[in-house]
């Protein structure tokens, strides 16, 4: 198929047959082998063939065959003239025949200009795999040297994050950072590097290491369009990576996971990995290893996203067309991150293509999305912009009156933009912008709305082969609220918001043979609008009110050392010191010590001036992890982590909702603290199956739960409504993953518990008589199966199955009469469970034609969500009907939902 195989016409009769068997040989060796068996004379320019190795295996074949074989997928050409002179050239095609011959045989000319970019890239990639790269000048006496560089995508120029580089016959390995940079310490001499990354073809580089030096590596994306290249099955695996408790999904994988309404959903896909749970389909937020929904740090291109969902949790608010991958840290959290107890979810957007303008779009039942990208200045500056919107309002327009949703409205959109400027080979500036908007009412007078607005800028620079730095400035804004204007007398608007300004500097430094140091500092300035209540009409009797805004400064410095003790044993030790200053201007309530806090026990207030430090909390956070590779296919990892959280979401509901309020730690509300121990074993069996078992135990201190009937909204003394509890979470996570092959996917099972116990001596009331009780998202058993079966190159089927224990609820246990009507009496907090959750989804993915020159590539996804139509309860509730109190299960998506999605790229 490749037009690069220029085959001159020769008289068949006088062709000598040659036998050549060389492997990884230089051109000189190859030439010698040919010339020794024939009268051919081979001419070439030595500099064109430097460092290139060839492998040919031919038994009694003509020369043309041998050279075709040797030069396959390269930019080398040959020409054989009738005098048996052979000209070997690079990039240039020599014609040794008369013009007439060429006219007779137009195929004889390979016109390079007709080659597509993809083909060209394939050729370059294949060539680089054959070359030998010499690293650094010759230096005597050195045993080891540092090799650093950047790994980028050959087709888009984007850096590849998290690509794994391993060195053959050693346990040396490293992964690239957020800018695609890597640095690794190697023994001098000839080494074979293997580079793997999700969504990219595995590639290899042969290096001869002499002393410290650089090597930039370009990887070719895996694509159905280029079937000439063998896809290796050996991907980045848990067995070899140094980190533990990291789950990474790339967008290709995510797109094959069936989802409601066919939206490729980065966050819903994360729910299929062990240790991540949600309380139901219509709930924003997720729970990681017994953590609350506010204990996840969600970063989208360095911006903190406070509400990553649309429409109360049906869709995640990230446009799949702009996303490269999602990565979740759930046990060993790198020291450079902090501020949340449970996890760090990194959503990495793609960077714009540096070569050409491209686009993609998708049309679904409820939403449409569009993405455009391309160079502004080729190879220097690129842009990427994506947007998505819904037209779901039509659904509510056509529903019958009695459904109760007739007058509902739901509208949302999100948009993101990325500008990448490659200043030099070593220095890149990126600017990211993101916004999302939601506004809906569920057939009530009340409209709920929320918005994310984020902007971030980063500069990454390689100061030397060993020192690499990243500087980030970001501004994040989240606001939400509700309003009602139907009755002018009571028209109101209630708004909340968070503004935060972040500055962060991260450095990576290669120290000596085996140490990789990460260090840096970060600071976040928070301003929180804890509630503003306004009347919306001139007649309104609403008394405007505002909970005094809060300000705080969260700062941290960190140092982490990744120490490769031996090839098999490595440890990473990190220390993060975080400090939180609660800042004025603010009036702080002071309570009588040792008695339950209530309005009556306020003994005074203290006023603080603007920017005055009111209270400071600080403390070290320890991040230790270790890995021991027993064999190439079996490793053991352990980690110990402590974390602190200074910002809390106060919510009386189970899910993130637009009525939650965010609150900083203050003199009356202590920061939350957690420590987690985890241990994991990772093995590779039958060559293609990755298996892992991780166990963990986590203690949480100062976890906030609420007093009965707590009023959290517009409360000027919210500390009287909350109480601290002690959390005890533990679990075991099992996973078997087949990352590649025609049938691929994973099975995971998690057993986990999260139990809370009120330990606030001054709460004034005791929940469940002071005993341990399950948190509202405690779901002990969780099973997931995600499979994708490729039938042909263009057709594949996906299946997703999940089962989990029903979540705990507090339900009525008795009835009494009060005020002449029956009233319900409730059980202990979370004393019962709703029925178990089970769902099976199915989808078929059809890729359009793969013709290379087609200007548009299409794909279709047809799916069935909840194939068994099980009515999974989201919650239970009780109503009094004809003198009997009846319990009902409320299911949100209680039927089969077929969907169809059409995507195209151009």
């Amino acid at each position: 198929m490749l037009a690069g195989c220029f085959s001159p016409i020769m008289g068949q009769q006088d062709q000598p047959m040659l036998t050549v068997n060389v492997s990884q040989a230089s051109l000189k060796d190859l030439v010698q082998a040919i010339e020794s068996q024939s009268k051919y004379h081979l001419y070439f320019r030595e500099s064109d063939f430097e460092n290139v190795l060839f492998t040919v295996s031919a038994e009694r074949k003509p020369l043309a065959f041998i050279l075709d074989e040797a030069f396959k997928n390269t930019s080398y050409h040959y020409a054989i003239d009738p005098e048996q002179n052979v000209f070997l050239t690079k990039d240039i095609v020599i014609t040794t025949q008369l013009l007439s011959d060429i006219i007779d045989n137009p195929n004889a000319i390979a016109n390079r200009q007709n080659l597509s970019n993809d083909e060209e890239n394939t050729r370059i990639a294949a060539l680089n795999e054959r070359r030998v790269f010499t690293i650094g000048p010759r230096a005597n006496g050195k045993q080891r040297a540092t090799l650093s560089g950047t790994i980028t995508s050959i087709s888009t120029g984007e850096p590849i994050i998290g690509a794994a580089i391993t060195v053959q016959n050693t346990s040396i390995g490293v992964a690239t950072d957020e800018s695609g940079k890597f640095s690794l310490e190697l023994p001098v001499g000839r080494q074979l590097l293997t580079i793997r990354s999700l969504g990219m073809k595995t590639t290899q580089r042969t290096v001869v290491v002499q002393s410290d030096g650089r090597l930039n590596i370009e990887m070719l994306p895996e694509s159905a369009n280029l079937k000439e290249v063998v896809v290796t099955s050996d991907r980045e695996s848990h067995v070899k990576s140094l980190q533990m408790g990291v789950e990474k999904l790339d967008i290709q994988t995510i797109k094959y996971i069936p989802s409601s309404f066919g939206e490729a959903d980065v966050l819903k896909a994360m729910l299929t990995v062990p240790g991540v749970k949600t309380v139901g389909e219509a709930s924003s937020g997720f729970n990681v290893r017994g953590g609350a929904t506010d204990q996840n740090l969600i970063l989208f291109n360095n911006s903190t996203i406070y509400n990553p969902f649309h429409f109360f949790g049906f869709f995640s608010s990230f446009n799949s067309e702009s996303i490269k991958s999602v990565e979740l840290f759930k046990s060993a959290i790198p020291a450079s991150y902090g501020g949340r107890l449970s996890s760090v979810l990194k959503v990495d957007g793609r960077q714009g293509d540096m070569q050409k303008i491209k686009g993609s779009a998708g049309i679904g039942v409820l939403t449409s999305r569009l993405n455009l990208e391309g160079p502004i200045w080729k190879n220097k500056i690129s842009f990427l912009a994506g947007a998505r919107t819904t037209y779901s309002n039509w659904i509510f327009g056509v529903v019958p009156e009695r459904s109760g949703f007739k007058n509902s409205k739901a509208s949302f959109f999100d948009a993101n933009a990325t500008l990448t400027a490659r200043l030099t080979d070593k220095s890149t500036i990126m600017v990211n912008g993101y916004m999302s908007n939601d506004e809906s009412n569920l057939n009530t007078d009340t409209t709920y709305a929320y918005q994310n607005r984020n902007i971030s800028a980063s500069w990454t620079n390689e100061f030397s082969d060993k020192l690499f730095g990243e500087f980030i400035a970001a501004f994040d804004h989240y606001e939400y609220g509700n309003k009602s204007t139907s009755d002018p007398l009571y028209a109101y608007e209630l708004t909340f918001g968070i503004n935060q300004t972040n500055l962060k500097a991260n450095f990576t430094y290669e120290l000596g043979k085996a140490h990789t140091l990460q260090f840096g500092a970060s600071s976040i300035y928070y301003s929180i609008n804890r509630g503003t209540y306004n009347s919306l009409s001139s007649q309104s009797v609403i008394l405007p009110d505002q909970v005094e805004p809060e300000h705080g400064l969260e700062s941290a410095i960190f140092l982490e050392d990744e120490f490769q003790i031996t090839d098999k044993f490595s440890v990473s030790g990190g220390l993060r010191y975080s400090m939180f200053n609660y800042l004025g201007a603010h009036t702080v309530n002071q309570y009588a010590p040792g008695v339950p806090r209530s309005e009556e026990t306020i003994v005074g207030t203290a006023d603080y001036a603007k920017n005055k430090v009111i209270h400071t909390y600080s403390g070290p956070e320890v991040r230790i992890s270790a890995r021991y590779a027993v064999t190439d296919n079996f490793s053991v990892k352990a980690s110990y982590n402590t974390l602190r959280q200074y910002i809390h979401m106060l919510s009386n509901t189970v899910a993130i909702s637009p009525t939650d309020t965010w609150k900083l730690s203050d003199p009356n509300i202590k920061p939350q603290f957690s420590q987690q121990y985890s241990l994991g074993v990772y093995g590779k069996v039958f060559k293609t199956l990755e298996t892992s078992v991780e166990v963990y135990k986590k203690d949480i201190k100062n976890y906030l739960d609420y007093k009965s009937g707590a009023v959290l909204i517009m409360n000027h003394h919210v500390e009287t409504e909350v109480m601290t509890t002690k959390g005890n979470a533990y679990g075991a996570e099992f996973m078997i993953k087949k990352p590649s092959g025609k049938l691929n996917g994973w099975i995971s099972y998690t057993y986990s518990r999260i139990l809370l116990k009120m330990d606030d001596p001054i709460a004034g009331e005791s929940i469940n008589r002071g005993k341990y009780y399950p948190a509202s998202y405690d779901k002990p058993h969780d099973f997931n199966l995600t499979l994708n079966q490729k039938i042909t190159r263009r057709l594949s089927f996906s299946l997703n199955t999940s089962y989990s224990t029903g979540r705990p609820v507090t339900i009525p246990i008795g009835v009494f009469y009060y005020g002449g009507a029956p009233k319900t009496l409730y059980s202990d907090r979370n004393g019962y469970r709703i029925p178990d959750y089970f769902r099976m989804d199915f989808s078929a993915n059809i890729e359009g034609s793969h013709k290379l020159k087609q200007w548009i590539h299409t794909s279709w996804t047809f799916g069935l969500y909840n194939v068994t139509a099980r009515k999974n309860p989201y919650s239970v509730y009780y109503t009094s009907e004809k003198g009997v109190i009846n319990g009902y299960k409320l299911s949100i998506l209680g039927t089969v939902i077929p969907y169809l999605n059409f995507n195209f790229k151009f």
């Binding site: 529903v399 009965s708 339900i811 009494f816 005020g819 009496l825 009997v884 009902y888």
Partner: protein, 390 residues
């Protein structure tokens, strides 16, 4: 295809989202005591109701506790005992408790002692008005307005008793008992024709002005019914009792209301434990109740049917009576649900016409006591109204 998708998407969002759910009861609520009422400060009687929580299976019914001892105590150790008047209701004598003491309630039941916290009486402001309005779709809304000139009440609770005059569509002049016709006396006819049913509100009616600029409640709706409702047939009275609430009791009742009414939605709070101000002092047996001390205010609203211009009371009895003859073997079975109005006479025999049958209507159309009982005529309906009736 598109239509199909639309349809299915709709189904997905909206169809059969709810199903019955029955949790396995692993914990029985036992016999938790419920104490309801308040200490009535100022002139009047205090009424306290004791009942027991019934487990959540089968039909809900009232479960009164008749065997309690209920005593009001003040901070000067004076006590006033309440007497059981039936149905778990305990009443004090006519007292005039002063506002200068704190009060609490002591309840002994089932060998346990329950005591409420001492509470300072709260003075309830006067009711400004109880008024009614008629909406475009012909509903009558009765609403209460009040304000506290001192700006210190903020929490209000209302109870009401409604009494209306009910008149049957037909008058029964005859009775036919054991095969013997009997002409009814005029008093009997009157008692069957006019009833004065009484009803109490069956909801917790409360409101707060805490979020408003002034301590005033404007037109808080108490009741709403259509103009064809039986209550508006002749004349209707609503006696509204208003009392202040402490913020704590308001919260207690709010939680009770919320726990009962608003659960299961997207943003509904988790149910909460009810925290009253009464506790068991002899064991840690739970108890439900909040006992405050308040004065109360009353105001009455009267609506006459002619105040509603195009009065349209619909009775189910607009039809012609049917004739039931004495020799009809079906007559006894007719009379199970029907009542005689007037006699049907046969041809004269010896100057007198014998009764050969009766005109009949369903018995509820000529005897209101069957549905509404025989409550006495309220004093506030004066004699001059009487003539209007006749």
């Amino acid at each position: 295809m598109k239509r199909v998708l639309v349809f299915l998407a709709l189904l997905a969002l909206l169809s059969t989202c709810r199903e019955r759910f029955e949790a396995e009861q692993v914990y029985k609520p036992g016999n938790i005591l419920v104490v309801e009422g308040f200490i009535n400060v100022g002139p009047g009687i205090t009424r306290i109701k004791l009942s027991r929580v019934t487990p959540l299976d089968g039909v809900i019914q009232q479960n009164p506790e008749p065997d309690g001892i209920v005593v009001i105590e003040d901070d000067a150790s004076t006590s006033y005992t309440l007497h059981h008047v039936g149905n778990g209701v305990y009443e004090s004598d006519e007292l005039n408790l002063g506002t200068d003491h704190e009060y609490r309630l002591r309840v002994e039941a089932n060998d346990q002692l329950f005591v409420s916290d001492f509470t300072e009486p709260i003075i309830s402001p006067r009711i400004d008005s109880v008024s009614w309005t008629r909406s475009a779709d012909d509903y009558i809304t009765i609403a209460v307005s009040t304000h506290d000139p001192l700006n210190e009440t903020f929490y209000y609770k209302w109870e009401y008793e409604e009494i209306w005059e009910n008149r049957t569509a037909f008058r029964s002049s005859w009775a036919y008992e054991n095969g013997i016709p009997r002409a009814r006396a005029s008093d009997e006819i009157k008692a069957m024709t006019i009833c004065w049913p009484r009803r109490y509100n069956k909801d917790l009616l409360m409101a707060t002005s805490a979020a408003f600029v002034t301590d005033a409640i404007s037109a808080f709706p108490l009741s709403k019914f259509h103009i064809t409702d039986v209550r508006l047939g002749w004349r209707y009275s609503m006696m509204v009792t208003q009392r202040a609430l402490s913020a704590d009791e308001y919260e207690f009742l709010q939680i009770m209301k919320r726990n009962t009414n608003d659960l299961g939605g997207f943003f509904d709070a988790q149910p909460s434990q009810l925290l009253g101000n009464i506790a068991c002092t002899t064991s840690n047996e739970p108890v439900v109740g909040y006992i405050g001390a308040y004065t109360s205010q009353q105001k009455q609203l009267i609506i006459k049917h002619n105040q509603i211009s195009d009065f349209d009371y619909s009775t189910p009895c607009f039809f012609d009576p049917l004739n039931g003859y004495l020799d009809d073997p079906q007559l006894p079975s007719y009379l199970e649900n029907a009542i005689p109005l007037d006699a049907i006479y046969g041809p004269f025999v010896d100057d007198a016409a014998p009764i050969i049958g009766f005109t009949l209507v369903p018995n509820t159309c000529a005897d209101c006591r069957i549905v509404f009982g025989s409550e006495p005529k309220p004093d506030f309906w004066v004699a001059e109204d009487e003539e209007e009736i006749e």
